[in-house]
Symmetry: C2
Subunit: 397 residues, 2 copies
Amino acid sequence: MDRDQCLALDAEDPLRHLKDEFVLPDDVIYLVGNSLGALPRRTAERVRQTVEDEWGAQLVGGWNHAGWFEQPFTAGDRLAPLIGAGPGQVVAGNTTSIAVFQAVAAALRLRPDRRVIVSDTRNFPTDHYMVQGLAGLLGDYELRELSEEHFGEAAVVLLSEVDYRTGARQDVSSVTAKAHAAGALIVWDVCHSVGAMEVDVSAGDFAVGCTYKYLNAGPGAPAFLYVNPRHQATAENVLTGWYGHAAPFEFETGYRPAEGIRRFGVSTPHVVSFAALEAALDVWERVPMDRVRAKSMALTSLFVDLVGDRLELASPADPAARGSQVSLRHPDGYPVMRALIDRGVHGDFRAPDILRFGFAPLYIGYADVHDAATTLLEVLDKELWREEKYAARLAVT
Amino acid sequence: MDRDQCLALDAEDPLRHLKDEFVLPDDVIYLVGNSLGALPRRTAERVRQTVEDEWGAQLVGGWNHAGWFEQPFTAGDRLAPLIGAGPGQVVAGNTTSIAVFQAVAAALRLRPDRRVIVSDTRNFPTDHYMVQGLAGLLGDYELRELSEEHFGEAAVVLLSEVDYRTGARQDVSSVTAKAHAAGALIVWDVCHSVGAMEVDVSAGDFAVGCTYKYLNAGPGAPAFLYVNPRHQATAENVLTGWYGHAAPFEFETGYRPAEGIRRFGVSTPHVVSFAALEAALDVWERVPMDRVRAKSMALTSLFVDLVGDRLELASPADPAARGSQVSLRHPDGYPVMRALIDRGVHGDFRAPDILRFGFAPLYIGYADVHDAATTLLEVLDKELWREEKYAARLAVT
């Protein structure tokens, strides 16, 4: 497919207008939206309002009048449709790591007869690390790598819908059914799928995710935790902060858990960061996720086709079996990525040899994909990455 | 003391110029800085820079180029002098509740021979709740209320330098010495003292605090955790997120703790909220804390003198024995506070009968105190609070 054909596809793209919602530098093709989403155009003003009009003018009254106190729950309710959940099932705040700790600890208490935790080593490492810490804290738990043969002994299975390195996608529905059939609970990490496809964790038990990747809520934006309604009356939140108390303003000395999703609140929300989340969610109010997924698959397929067999594909070849990213292997992946970034095509590198390219369908178009692939092929064909200046190591999340 | 004398004191106040650093509504005397500090004038621009110039222009590159990745540690180093600590001893991020969990869990592991946790019920409830959750998670721990007679059995003692309700101040130095003499470790909560007085937790083992009260870092701003260097090689962080890993960008499957204070990192910082913290810390760079404390004691004493015996004092009568707040009892405290707020004097109410007034020395002056006391006496003398519109309950943190 040539560049004119790509421009024609862009002209017909029903999501094309959404690119105007984002601030993007003119000279960059930004293929790292799977790590940090781009800045929505409306966010700066929304954050300014929170700082100046709410904090500055209402001072402590903002907790009530500006709705700060309810943010974890109002933002949670707005996130819910993006993961197939309903109102009162999602709480926002803290971080993915903390949400993993809450979800897995709650699941273990719901299955006290089992002492095995299955955690996929392909999860983003913090998930796996948090479970190691929890297991060490509790003692007497065995951690096993993901394999369906362990489901029959597992109290809980923790895995990611989309693998952060390869983009490989799990079938949430069938894996959930297998875990349940074997008597295990399941915690889904949807960090790398939410906002890129139609996510539905409603058959699962818990889910966690972040909002700073495809959802575009900004660096270190609040995470979220989903708790299936069937567990809300019995599941325990082990991080028993005052936000999960039945009557936080009674200032009682004893902890009494709230009902419903409020029980999973921990602490005071990071209000200024929530402002950016709220602005990001405004954009999503008007986005049909089936079209996002269709465009995502078309973009990743186009990139794979254009790169051809020039590099080994680390992602699944079937677009339905991957997320909105393409990962390619190159033994000198780091300098290749540096050379590419120098030419305005921003992807990232994951050791030991993976070049990652994320395609956020809200602001990436077909011509962008064409130009990115062309530049990559030029860097490879002309061996531009061999320049000495590209050799130094630089960490990029 | 009459109003002219108060104005004369304001004119001589060496901290007077600092009021210009803050945005405050003209018609409000804001005595809730002990709950949510006022907005520093420089904050809006600093937050705008982070959103537009960093996130918007640098995108994912901000993690390195804008210093986001290091924020927990750079902000921690800037917070350290405010609590008597040095570089490499404080990590910022998450919330006070999470920091309490980390500190108490680490202390318990350092004293495996003891099974008693002493937690002051006068702590802000979330501290006490978090410890209850932790004890429940670990099992086999007994939670006792604060009393020196329990120190000899305690693994750890958790208490606050300043009581959030009464403003009563603990003597950090002597209580720390008593805990240590009895073989217990100690965790100090400095939420209600940091930024109001010279805090020194360096003899203690751990400390936690928030930055949104006297430090003025904004609603839900990042909290902080201090770990005494003598424990850094042996203390364990049970919340083993990737930020505490020895090599977070190696993406290993096994958790290996970092050296030093980095071990106590958990997760990706809330970058936009950190921007407001950084702006708030700029103000503190130029503030002599001994003068802050001297003015604080003068302000609270003036308020107590002006109110006289019209209301029962819930705070200690000796200004050296209290923080930067005055708490007064009134059986109808809630409508009294509503009537007062209606007249531009903002304090808050804590059930069952406490009127709290916080005096942030950076932006509250002597004439403010005079006017607040005069208005309070008028509300009481004329029984203005009996108007029906003041009866409804409204939660204020």
